[in-house]
């Protein structure tokens, strides 16, 4: 069973109403589906919210997740995004301990290599903003561990399909 597990990104357009996130997350909990990350935000259409949910499971579980999502009344549209044709991004804010002046410049060098930005500076720490795929962020955080991470906030993954394929409400 274990090796059939795969990670998948599900995008859903939902009504922007109170309780929708609750009904979605409640459905996942009750049916024993596992949410690895979830991001929620407005879309270009008024009153429509987009949820990007990273889940793992075998083929059958992923199919059930999509169907059970679709069954929720406030869910307008659901798509299991194809991993080979999507752009995924995550944003992290990291507060890194600064040991000394040399350490500070080493950290800033790393930030540049990873195309991050230093967004706040204090005598003992630097706050770095970094965007990319979750793997890239993991790699950056691994490097920063040597200096010591004081605090970390990650947004979770968001994603869009490449090209003409779009998740849109049929007019």
């Amino acid at each position: 069973m274990e090796n059939n597990q795969k990670t998948s990104v599900i995008a859903a357009l939902v009504e922007n109403k109170p309780g929708v996130l609750h009904s979605v997350s409640n459905m996942f909990r009750r049916r024993g589906f596992n949410i690895e990350s979830i991001t929620v935000g407005h879309t270009e259409q008024k009153g429509v919210t987009r949820m990007t949910i990273t889940v793992s499971g075998d083929e059958k579980t992923l199919e059930q997740i999509t169907k059970q999502m679709n069954k929720l009344i406030d869910v307008i549209k659901v798509n299991q995004l194809e991993p080979e044709s999507i752009v995924t991004r995550e944003l992290a804010l990291v507060k890194v301990n600064v040991p000394d002046i040399k350490g500070r410049s080493d950290i800033i060098n790393c930030v540049e290599v990873f195309r991050g930005r230093v967004v706040d500076v204090s005598p003992e720490s630097l706050m770095v903003e970094i965007t990319g795929t979750p793997d890239k962020i993991d790699a950056f955080l691994n490097l920063m561990k040597t200096y010591g991470i004081a605090e970390l906030a990650r947004t979770g993954l968001t994603a869009l399909s490449r090209g003409v394929k779009s998740l849109k409400i049929d007019e």
Binding site: K67, Q68, K71, I73
Partner: protein, 570 residues
């Protein structure tokens, strides 16, 4: 249409009237007083006072199942609302269209502070509580939205796969007066249940059925929900395909029809279980393949090609993998299949398959005794069937009484066998019987009960007597929680922990205490006499039938086993 000024409570009741609601079951309390006050000048709506909110919810459920029209129940906030929960969960599991209305504490308190969420007196988060057990729920926030919320609630409850919807109604909105306007049509972009079958799937299904050598039809509760009973019958008769039902499908196909196999499952008819497993093509309609129906899924019709018709796409492939999924309304799908079938097959001559089914039938379903001597659950239920008119609505409680009913009480018409199949709620049968009687006052309604189950909602005898809703309750009284005791006997070496109920209360005196009539029947003739009295009675009758406490429900498929491993004789 022009707007009218009225209170939220009036707007709600007028919206219910516009939905054709004539009967409401409920209990009032502080947070729903304005709605009850408004009932005074809405005489078109009959309010039936239950004695516990669970009873109100089950009654609304029984009303819906008996009539096909949505059942409505009211409760106050907090404990009133939470008491509805079992009834709502029950309706949800069995896909029954129930609309529940709960009072809620005011949105704002006396000093304009927001009150919901501040743990006010009798406040419960009924929206949060019922999210997983309703098809949808609403909390009203403005008088103006009442017409559209009520019409959406009824639309959601009754369309697609039916289910319960709850409307939570804060007290200040009930009392507030504002402009209200009713508009036609429902606009919900996020909810459009697909009802029309895909033509390609219909073609594939038809091809399979035409070529099938040993076709079997499995009818679930969805057949009757979709009112696809005639279509089911015509397809079965055209193909000469035997028809099994699930427990929830009981009544969707007349059980005295020569093609009827009875219900499958853990306590299914051995004929149905056996024939189903021999099928080469299975046409399953409106069933979710519940674990109690299929037994071990590895051995469930593993050799058969499966066609699965269901209105709920999420049921396809959830429990059983199928070859041809058809997401559609059962009536439309079966009509489409029939249209194609009739062009390809004439009336079939009897084949070796029909001979085989006949042979199995004669082995596993011996003919009924015409004049049984002994009063046992089987003979009692067969006798009851003979005494009751065809259109009598039967409800059951949950436990042995229910499984005996499934086995031995033949349901002849749709919506005449009403039972808590999914949730298995003890105490369901009696209030559901009251609901059914209110929906169909011209017909007889009988609750087949056990003593353990009946006692859970027996206080509704008061409702039945004072509201003049006469039904009959047949209590198979074994003095134990029989189904659990049976499991203790079979799987826990007869350690009867907590299953003994004893002889209290005296069911006859209990009935009399409420102003109902009670009989005790110790033999078949006594039972016949009591039933005939009950059918003539203007008041509810409780017939207490003492039975052996160690009576088992057999045949049975032991837990974890496949349908082929059923033990015990029918």
């Amino acid at each position: 249409m022009t707007a009218t000024k009225m209170s939220g409570a009036d707007a709600l009741l007028e919206s219910l009237e516009r939905q054709g609601v004539k009967d409401v079951f409920g209990i009032l309390g502080g947070a729903i007083l304005p709605v009850y006050d408004a009932l005074c000048h809405h005489p078109k709506i009959r309010h039936i006072l239950a004695r516990h909110e669970q009873g109100a919810a089950h009654a609304a459920d029984g009303y819906a199942r008996a009539s096909g029209r949505p059942g409505v129940c009211f409760a106050t906030s907090g404990p009133g609302a939470t008491n509805l929960v079992t009834g709502i969960a029950n309706a949800h599991m069995d896909s029954s269209p129930v609309v529940a209305l709960t009072g809620q504490v005011p949105t704002t308190g006396v000093n304009s502070n927001y009150m919901i969420g501040r743990d006010a007196f009798q406040e419960a988060d009924i929206i949060g509580i019922t999210t997983p057990i309703t098809k949808y729920n609403f909390q009203l926030r403005a008088v103006a939205e009442i017409p559209s919320v009520v019409s959406s609630a009824f639309y959601i409850a009754t369309s697609g796969r039916p289910g319960p919807v709850l409307i939570d109604f804060p007290k200040d909105i009930q009392a507030e007066v504002a402009d209200v306007e009713w508009k036609d049509g429902i606009n919900m972009r996020s909810y459009n249940p697909a009802t029309t079958p895909h033509p390609l799937q219909i073609r594939k299904a038809t091809e399979l059925l035409v070529e099938a050598e040993r076709p079997v039809i499995l009818a679930g509760g969805g057949v009757t929900s979709a009112e696809a009973n005639d279509e089911l019958l015509t397809i079965a008769e055209l193909l000469l395909a035997p028809v099994a039902t699930t427990f929830m499908g009981k009544g969707s196909f007349p059980e005295i029809h020569p093609l009827s196999l009875g219900a499958i499952g853990m306590h299914g008819n051995p004929l149905a279980n056996k024939v189903l497993l021999e099928a080469d093509v299975l046409l399953a309609v409106g069933t979710r393949f519940s674990d109690r129906a299929t037994g071990n899924t590895d051995t469930f019709c593993s050799g058969a090609k499966k066609i699965h018709v269901d209105i709920d796409a999420a049921e396809i492939g959830k429990n059983i993998d199928v070859d041809i999924p058809i997401v559609a309304d059962a009536k439309k799908a079966l009509s489409a299949i029939y249209e194609r079938l009739i062009k390809q097959v004439g009336k079939k001559p009897e084949s070796s398959w029909q001979k085989r089914v006949k042979e199995v039938r004669s082995q596993l379903n011996p003919p009924e005794q015409a004049e049984p001597k002994e009063l046992k659950p089987k003979t009692l239920l067969q006798t009851l069937r003979r005494l009751l008119p065809e259109d009598t609505i039967v409800t059951t409680e949950v436990g042995q009484n229910q499984m005996w009913s499934a086995l031995y009480f033949k349901a002849l018409k749709p919506r005449t066998f009403i039972s808590s199949g999914g949730l298995g709620t003890m105490g369901f049968g009696f209030p559901a019987a009251l609901g059914a009687k209110v929906a169909c006052p011209e017909r007889h309604v009988v609750d087949i009960a056990g003593d353990g189950s009946f006692i859970m909602t027996e206080q509704e005898l008061a409702c039945s007597v004072t509201e003049d809703i006469p039904v009959t309750v047949v209590v198979l009284n074994n003095g134990v929680l029989g189904m659990v005791a049976q499991w203790q006997r079979m799987f826990y070496k007869r350690r009867y922990m907590a299953t003994k109920l004893g002889t209290s209360p005296d069911m006859v005196k209990l009935a009399e205490a409420y102003g109902a009539q009670g009989f005790r029947a110790r033999s078949i003739p006594e039972f016949q006499k009591a039933v005939n009295e009950a059918l003539k009675s203007k008041v509810t009758t409780v017939i207490d039938v003492p039975i052996r406490s160690e009576e088992d429900v057999v045949p049975m498929v032991p837990p974890g086993c496949g349908l082929g491993q059923q033990v015990g004789d029918y």
